[in-house]
């Protein structure tokens, strides 16, 4: 099972021209709690996948929307010569495909 199968929405977007933010909304309270408790989305994982120091990764849990938020610096400012995603809207695929280990969120 992959992370997206227990979510309603996974998205990425600019948080201003210099930061990128990911929102993961879970289908229900239980799925939110079990992914949170399993510490699946942590600074080390984000750091490894997005190739940046772990201390630059901000992770927040937002129970009132059953959501996890991850914010990282942009590698290149929005719209700069080397940028390929001005809105930052297509950077979330690794979260979508994050495998859920057996036993986590299983019925």
């Amino acid at each position: 099972m992959k992370l997206w199968e227990v979510t309603k929405l996974i998205r990425s977007k600019n948080a201003g021209p210099f930061e990128l933010t990911f929102d993961i909304f879970f289908v229900d309270q239980e799925k939110f709690e079990c992914v949170k408790a399993a510490n699946l989305i942590n600074a080390q994982w984000v750091s490894r996948v997005y190739k940046l120091p772990a201390d630059q990764v901000k992770i927040m849990f937002y129970p009132c929307a059953r959501a996890i938020k991850v914010t990282i610096p942009r590698r290149v400012p929005s719209g700069d010569f080397l940028d390929s995603d001005v809105y930052g809207g297509q950077q979330h695929a690794p979260f979508v495909e994050l495998p859920l280990p057996a036993g986590i969120c299983s019925p």
Partner: protein, 455 residues
């Protein structure tokens, strides 16, 4: 305290809304209509060039409906971040369109313009006084960066709006302003607690974005009271639920709990979101924590050169199996040819790159998936000091790339499929966001001169 009713026309002026929804929302007797018109999201081009995201026809269509509505109901219309970036050309554009609509529809009102452009000498002075501070991941700010900027704007808080409303403005068109200030100003004046005013403003600023399924841009509506606000979308096809309203705090923000405004922080840690019907949500517990230091965010954009792009595709498996080395050799050959055409000094005047569409294009070095595609797109980009130089270099690249050899094939080959003739497209000026800073002004109004016109 009286209830304040707020009509948000849409998430961005120019994106449109349903006239029937506007009519339904007006029947709820709003105290004012607010609408945001800008963002940094579409990139640095708009602030740099003075152009706008939408066409003048799009802005004028929305403006006409709103100016007629405000006249009929005798309520203020407040527009912020004019025409995408809120610098002088954007403010001038919206001003001209508003005057055209007023003339065509025979409308009369007192119009206030809030200017957000910042004087460069003033900023340099503030920089030397240590009154400009970098935010996270900010590029270096120097005197040169300030002088090289095409436009620099400050993001206005509620104060200039309150000032203009206090002077009897019927319509306010502001340059760059925080999205929330547009909606928080009048409730502030009417005594709505700051936490309620700012939080409702945050939900309203994106129009109908906080509904469960937003199928198209549309109006939204809120009732602000002394200890809570209710968000109740006026479009019968739309509904909000507690989660959709709470979720909106996440959008385009680094934190859903703390939203930084010029004079303090909207704190939503203790908020509760409660459904009071199948479509309306009551929000309570919003707080505003004032800070000692009043700050205004600065946005700047500078010209970074002129771009030319070339799009081609490769299908030949023999080229695909050595694509990286083929591109590296191609670029070396192009650099030699360009140096021969100009001189060695030309190297400092241009940059070129190629991105492979179908291989790590979107995520670049962070792409975790490494598979080989049966075809790829090649997007060549050149940026140079002038458009002529940029185009000239691109012409060299497209010709070299079209016939660049690989060892396995003997004889002249044609290596790229070009979808266009000519293959090069002048992309015009490239701009760059060059600051992510806040300034500490002497007073909240100092950065935002207001001009009034009676129409």
């Amino acid at each position: 305290m009286q209830e304040i009713r707020v009509l948000s026309a849409t998430g961005m002026l120019g994106s449109g809304f349903k006239p029937a929804t506007l009519k339904a929302a007006l029947e709820r007797n709003p105290h004012f209509i607010g609408v945001d018109s800008g963002s940094t999201d579409p990139g640095p081009f708009y602030l740099g060039s003075g152009e706008s995201m939408f066409s003048e026809e799009a802005y004028k269509n929305d403006l006409r409906l709103l100016l007629i509505a405000r006249t009929q109901f005798k309520i203020p219309l407040i527009i912020g971040s004019a025409c995408t970036a809120g610098a002088k050309p954007h403010l001038e554009r919206l001003k001209r369109l508003a005057l055209e609509v007023a003339r065509e529809e025979k409308l009369s009102f007192k119009l206030a313009f809030i200017h957000s452009d910042q004087d460069k000498e003033y900023l340099v002075r503030k920089l030397h006084e240590g009154k400009i501070r970098a935010l996270d991941n900010a590029p270096d700010l120097t005197e040169t960066v300030i002088h090289d900027s095409a436009h620099i704007v400050g993001m206005a808080g509620v104060e200039p709006f309150i000032e203009a409303l206090g002077r009897g403005a019927d319509v306010i068109i502001a340059g760059r302003a925080s999205d929330t200030s547009i909606f928080a100003a009048l409730p502030h004046m009417e005594g709505i607690p700051a936490g309620i005013a700012w939080h409702a403003a945050k939900v309203l600023e994106c129009g109908a974005a906080c509904v469960t399924h937003r199928k198209y841009p549309d109006c939204n509506f809120a009732y602000l009271r002394s200890d809570h606000f209710v968000i109740d979308p006026p479009n019968p096809d739309y509904r909000c639920d507690p989660e959709s309203v709470a979720s909106h705090n996440l959008y385009e923000n680094a934190s859903p709990y703390e939203l930084i405004e010029p004079g303090g922080i909207l704190d939503t840690y203790d908020c509760s979101y409660e459904a009071i019907s199948d479509r309306a949500v009551k929000v309570s517990g919003s707080r505003f924590r004032p800070v000692d230091e009043y700050t205004i965010k600065l946005e700047g954009s500078a010209l970074a050169g002129y771009q030319t792009i070339i799009l081609g595709t490769v299908r030949d498996p023999v080229i695909l199996m050595q694509l990286d080395s083929w591109l590296k050799n191609l670029f070396e050959a192009c650099e030699d040819r360009i140096a021969a055409m100009y001189s060695n000094e030309v190297k400092a005047k241009y940059k070129m790159q190629v991105k492979i569409i179908g291989r790590n294009f979107t995520m670049g070095v962070t792409e975790p998936v490494q598979t080989s595609a049966h075809e790829v797109g090649l997007l060549f980009q050149v940026v140079a000091h002038t458009q002529d130089l940029s185009k000239s270099i691109a012409k060299t690249i497209s010709h070299f790339a079209l016939h660049f050899p690989v060892p396995e094939w003997t004889g002249l080959i044609t290596t790229l499929a070009f979808p266009f003739s000519p293959p090069e497209t002048s992309k015009g000026p490239l701009y760059r966001f060059n600051m992510n800073h806040v300034i500490i002004p002497n007073s909240p109004l100092e950065l935002f001169p207001i001009e009034y016109i009676r129409i």
